[in-house]
Symmetry: C2
């Protein structure tokens, strides 16, 4: 018997979780333009432009800069499995979900994984990296620039230098970072980096921007074993994204339109202005939450602007707040993962979603819901504190 | 220096190549609805509905029926790498590009691949399968139902029975078939099957519908080794697509909207009516081409309705015809691959694109371009021949 669902009619949410973030309206429009063939000259031009703009957002001249046909996790897998051959030593920084995931991906590719660990919410120091590099000669060191599970912002300059001095390659997870904070691929001499479209690029999930240094490409091209994944084999993908345009798999055409438009928006605003905007709204949110006595889960001085992981106040019902935000305000925030489950909320201010309206509606709604749960307000209005940040910024 | 590309402005093509096919307008509309969070109850309902409709189109009751977050080739990789453990024997039918690709994917997963071969354009017989199964005890036999590179339509009933009698599992590539011809997953007792959204589902590329039998799921859950791909690990994906809803990776939300609408369109038309429509327009096209003396590349009696691979007439400039079709008529057809390069055109009548208007505009344009290249018309008007098929069908 045939059962046909009604047409979709998604409610209009404000997405302030860990991603996906709100897609920009002009990106939705681009997404719905008519599909082109994947070898159509008009589409090849869109790919070229997309690559050119992606290089600017990644701050790189890397030729091998393109979009993997999958979500951010496919980007992680693409960078890892192309670089790893069975038996290779790799060092991976683990201070949250995504470092843990990278270990799993690398081990499945046959790597001998050396975990460099820090408690959730902390970042790695130069000494941590020195210690790890003292134990082995890894093929690469993998670190997460913006740990979405903890809100920690990993400083890169010093550890990037150390990694290269040791002769290892540097692999960086910038899924949540790209578009919202400086991602200096060339200055840090990153060898492989990946991101996702659904965070600070204001685009739906579905593509994973990646970039490989010349050294990484040479390493891949001189592998002794085939890359375990046909779908993610960079040597083959290079022939399609390069000048040869050899058919590999059918690119997700409409998603490329969306990413093209998303990159246009960022470059039109200007990379620095875009990063500054993310910082401003983070500061306003943090001031507002501070007025409620709500603190951050990540180490002070290393808190991400686009992903605010904050401690749930004592006695407040986590699930009820999130459910009420969604049902009554159409506003989504994220729950904590792993050890942060029930302890932490994750509030995203990503891309198009990083704006004063979102900060204010969230703080206002939160005050209302906390009051309903008998929360003791002590320090004052969160809105006033946030607005003070905006007033200072205008002054 | 910042270089910003202009907004995309894709030309409006008629996509009559091997895919992507034209996306249905209502699918484009669904694609551009606002993004939801991947754990939003409203999105989870869309996933449930999508799975329910996908089961109907796959003609299966398999619980493990869902959409892989990648294109059709990711679907191939997902089915193969979940079933293969290193050292497993597998038999794969090779009579075109996609069987060849499956061998590569399986070998990368550590399988010992036994190739069952046929010339391009032919299909496998019961004797071919018997012979292959006489040589080994494979874990699975992989066959391509609709070979997009040759236009060959593999009959399944008898070989499916043989494969099961031998104790092997059956893996089927239905990338180009699904939605355009009967895909009887349960009746054939298929253990793993995959498709793509960009062929007869009238949806952009980006998702790979898959389905696994209970036997395949049990095989996967009792593996001795981890699945080599974290991203495609069915055991983990089952927790997200199943009732647990455990976060794995962020689903491509907007692409799910599109697939939901695409499946709605097919079920609203009715599966049988939809398959009959594909057959009718194929017959009209074939009659038209026959009037021009143009023959098919695939074996008579085994020609796909949605992918018409035809011999390029002697003395006609392949590239010039395809370029003129694109530039003057905004109409895309596909070139031949591998041994068919320069020998064959691939004309798609897929999903929304399988309609009389497309048949007639293609035949009319082709007549014009052939005339310009000095083609000797002998048998008569291709349009009249096609219209006769339509007249007979109405009678």
């Amino acid at each position: 018997m045939t059962t046909i669902a009604p047409s979709i009619n998604p409610p209009i949410r404000t997405l302030m979780g860990p991603g996906p973030s709100d897609t920009h309206p002009s990106v939705l429009t681009a997404l719905s333009r008519p599909t082109l063939g994947h070898l159509d000259p008009a589409y090849l031009q869109i790919m070229d432009e997309l690559q050119g703009m992606l290089r600017q957002v990644f701050q790189t001249k890397n030729a091998m800069t393109f979009a993997v046909s999958g979500t951010g996790s496919a980007g992680m897998e693409a960078t890892v499995v192309n670089l790893v051959e069975p038996g290779d030593d790799v060092v991976i920084g683990v201070n949250g979900v995504f470092g843990t995931r990278m270990c799993d991906v690398a081990a499945r590719a046959g790597a001998n994984v050396i975990r460099m660990e820090r408690p959730w919410g902390e970042v790695f120091t130069v000494d941590d990296v020195k210690e790890a590099l003292g134990k082995c000669k890894p093929k690469f060191v993998g670190v997460v620039l913006a740990e979405t599970s903890t809100g920690a912002w990993q400083p890169m300059d010093d550890i990037a230098q150390l990694v290269h001095d040791s002769g290892a390659m540097l692999l960086v997870d910038s899924v949540t970072g790209l578009g919202g904070l400086p991602v200096e691929t060339d200055r840090w001499q990153v060898d492989a980096i990946y991101s996702g479209t659904q965070k600070c690029l204001s685009c739906p999930p579905g593509l994973a921007p990646v970039s490989f240094s010349e050294r990484a490409v040479q390493t891949i091209l001189s592998r002794k074993t085939k890359v375990q994944s046909w779908y993610l084999d960079v040597g083959m993908l290079a022939s399609y994204w390069g000048s040869d345009r050899v058919y590999h798999h059918t690119a997700p055409i409409n998603m490329s339109y969306a990413l093209h438009e998303a990159l246009r928006l960022i470059l039109t605003e200007g990379l620095e202005a875009c990063h500054a905007r993310h910082l401003l709204h983070h500061r306003a949110l943090k001031a507002g939450l501070g007025a409620l006595g709500i603190s951050y889960a990540a180490q002070e001085g290393h808190q991400l602007p686009m992903l605010n992981a904050v401690r749930i106040p004592e006695g407040i019902d986590d699930a009820r707040v999130r459910r009420d935000l969604l049902q009554r305000f159409n506003l989504e925030i994220g729950a904590g993962l792993g050890p942060f489950k029930g302890q932490v909320w994750r509030i995203g201010l990503m891309g198009y979603g990083s704006r004063a309206a979102n900060v204010l509606v969230f703080l206002g709604a939160l005050e209302q819901l906390l009051a309903e749960q008998g929360f003791k307000f002590s320090a004052g209005s969160s809105i006033a504190a946030a607005n003070q940040v905006y007033a200072d910024a205008r002054a």
